[in-house]
């Protein structure tokens, strides 16, 4: 593999033992994958769940990170500050807290931007089209590759960490233009109406499961689609299958036209999605209004300021019924804005709890004891909660509005 002089020196230990370990992992990985060289990245987004001992070995001698590096949410509903309010058992919390604090110290010293978000592009980490980056998290990866047009591979945690530390990524896979073109065109039948979040989510989840592998281009998504709608469309495509890049004609930077997204080649397949396909997809996690709901989870991907405002409008002067819970996943920075706007107060007053953690991997942390039925507006969330809980809870999907309604909102007492 070709290495620059600086990279060779790094590998020989000239810049300290941490960088030496990190670049040698990349070199060995690159040799096994057949990558011809390393490239410089402009941005990294990492999983703040490193074993503390490993983190301290790999950062030995490093004073500052070379590129803007943000942290993903903790891949657990466990929140170091909020676990009691969320009803998570104390013995579980004690074990997690010790490691969390060790990591926190190193992250702070080296300049990891502790945003704990799966939407780093909203938290000061916005690369440009064509940039090489190393991002973790299936949602951040597919949004970075698709919506921003920056180039990241779907690396695991160690290669991603080594990329953040060295500022280098392997030049292979999705970093190569020829691997970024769409192979399958997705068209919408005339009877399709895309209105609610779960309409967009059902479309993405159906396509991910149907196409299985390769990149896709959606043709016919309205130009007026909001960031939140695109987030619900694109995130589940990487959940139900192995689609890496999800171009959207007229919206994403590598897809001004269908032809451009296909790289001038003929599509391998054209899939026409019908209203019936979406109905069938929604039935996987069918909403039964007669089924009492114990916990509503919103925030997979993380809640945006705009979304929190929609939630606050519905919860204003209302109270969630006794025994039911509402968890909202969003970054602390977003929550600060939501609080400044007065919306966080309204949501908390009604009984909602904000957490900066990942709402799809809740099983990594025990759910409160009485929770048997979970409801969400997210197909990605529903997929993971369902598979990771292995049938211990029932998961249902509907729109944001229906999810909140299922909390049996009551008029709050007038003060």
């Amino acid at each position: 593999m070709y290495l620059t002089k600086y990279e060779q020196e790094m590998a020989q230990g000239k810049y300290g033992p941490g960088l030496q370990k990190a670049i040698n992992i990349l070199i060995r990985y690159g040799k096994a994958c057949g990558a011809e060289r390393l490239v410089e990245i402009t941005s990294a987004h990492v999983m703040p769940k490193e074993p503390p001992e490993l983190l301290s070995q790999f950062t030995e001698g490093i004073e500052e990170l070379p590129v803007t590096t943000t942290t993903h949410p903790l891949m657990s509903a466990f929140n170091p500050e909020k676990w009691e309010a969320m009803g998570i058992p104390a013995d579980f919390a004690a074990a997690e807290l010790a490691e969390h604090e060790e990591r926190q110290k190193i992250h702070g010293d080296l300049g990891f931007i502790k945003c704990y978000s799966c939407l780093p592009m909203h938290l000061g980490n916005l690369p440009q089209k064509g940039d090489y980056i190393s991002w973790i998290g299936s949602c951040a990866q597919i949004l970075g590759n698709s919506l921003i047009g920056a180039k990241t591979n779907k690396d695991g945690t160690i290669v991603n960490l080594c990329s953040a530390l060295t500022g280098r990524a392997l030049y292979h896979g999705l970093l190569l233009d020829e691997n970024r073109y769409a192979k399958v065109v997705i068209k919408l039948a005339e009877d399709i109406r895309l209105e609610t979040d779960d309409d967009y989510g059902a479309l993405g989840y159906y396509v991910g499961g149907h196409v299985i592998i390769g990149n896709v281009v959606f043709d016919g998504i309205p130009k007026s689609a909001t960031f939140d709608q695109l987030k619900y469309l694109i995130a589940p495509v990487a959940t139900s299958g192995s689609v890496h890049i999800c171009h959207v004609t007229g919206i994403t930077p590598e897809a001004p036209t269908v032809e451009a997204a296909l790289g001038g080649k003929e599509p391998e397949d054209i899939v026409i999605v019908t209203r019936q396909d979406l109905e069938k997809t929604k039935n996987i996690f069918r909403y039964d209004p007669d089924q009492p709901v114990d916990l509503v989870i919103i925030g997979c991907p993380h809640v945006t300021v705009q979304e929190a405002r929609r939630i606050a409008k519905i919860l204003k002067d209302k109270k969630i019924a006794e025994g039911k819970r509402l968890w909202l996943g969003l970054s602390d920075a977003t929550c600060t804005i939501v609080r400044a706007m007065g919306d966080a107060g309204i949501i908390e007053e009604a009984g909602g709890v904000f957490s900066n953690t990942c709402q799809a991997t809740i099983p990594d942390s025990p759910l409160p004891e009485n929770v048997q039925v979970v409801m969400t507006n997210s197909f990605k969330g529903a997929h993971y909660i369902n598979s990771l809980q292995q049938g211990k809870v029932r998961v249902m999907i509907s729109s944001l509005e229906e999810c909140l309604k299922a909390l049996n909102l009551q008029e709050a007492q007038v003060k």
């Binding site: 992992i25 060995r28 990985y29 040799k31 096994a32 994958c33 999983m47 769940k49 490193e50 074993p51 001992e53 490993l54 891949m75 973790i136 998290g137 299936s138 779907k154 690396d155 695991g156 945690t157 160690i158 290669v159 292995q390």
Partner: protein
């Protein structure tokens, strides 16, 4: 019997150990408990079997971004496997092997999950990719 594969990474070099053979894709996250080193795939015949110092033989993996860190915890607890042999190595399994510095080989001439049996004694030459099998 001898089989030959491609050495993706040699780890710390030549190893020998007992094979634990999975016929289904394996992931360090979900299928394995890094505290005890035991297989945690519920309902699987190998459930509860320790992978400590064993040679993991798998068709491929089911991914799991954070799997390299799980493998690291197993190494720290001294219950990690000694090598990984795959029919087709995926990038996450490669990352796991690199993280704990053990040999990883793939691309054998035969389906290793069929020709090898759990309990076979394997000796891996990490320079040539030659695996000596005795049972």
């Amino acid at each position: 019997m001898q089989i030959t594969g491609r050495v993706l990474d040699r780890g710390q070099g030549r190893v020998e150990g007992e094979a634990v053979v999975f016929e289904v894709p394996f992931s360090f996250i979900g299928d394995f408990d890094p505290a005890s080193g035991k297989v945690s795939m519920s309902g699987h015949p190998l459930f509860g079997r320790s992978l400590k110092d064993k040679i993991l033989v798998i068709p491929t993996s089911r991914g799991g971004t954070i799997a390299p860190y799980i493998a690291y915890y197993a190494k720290k607890n001294k219950v990690s496997p000694a090598a990984i042999l795959c029919n087709i190595a995926d990038t996450i399994t490669l990352e796991c092997a690199l993280t704990i510095d053990i040999p990883i080989l793939d691309n054998f001439t035969e389906d290793i999950t069929k020709v090898l049996l759990t309990g076979d004694k394997l000796e891996i030459n990490t320079d040539t990719g030659l695996v000596e099998v005795s049972r």
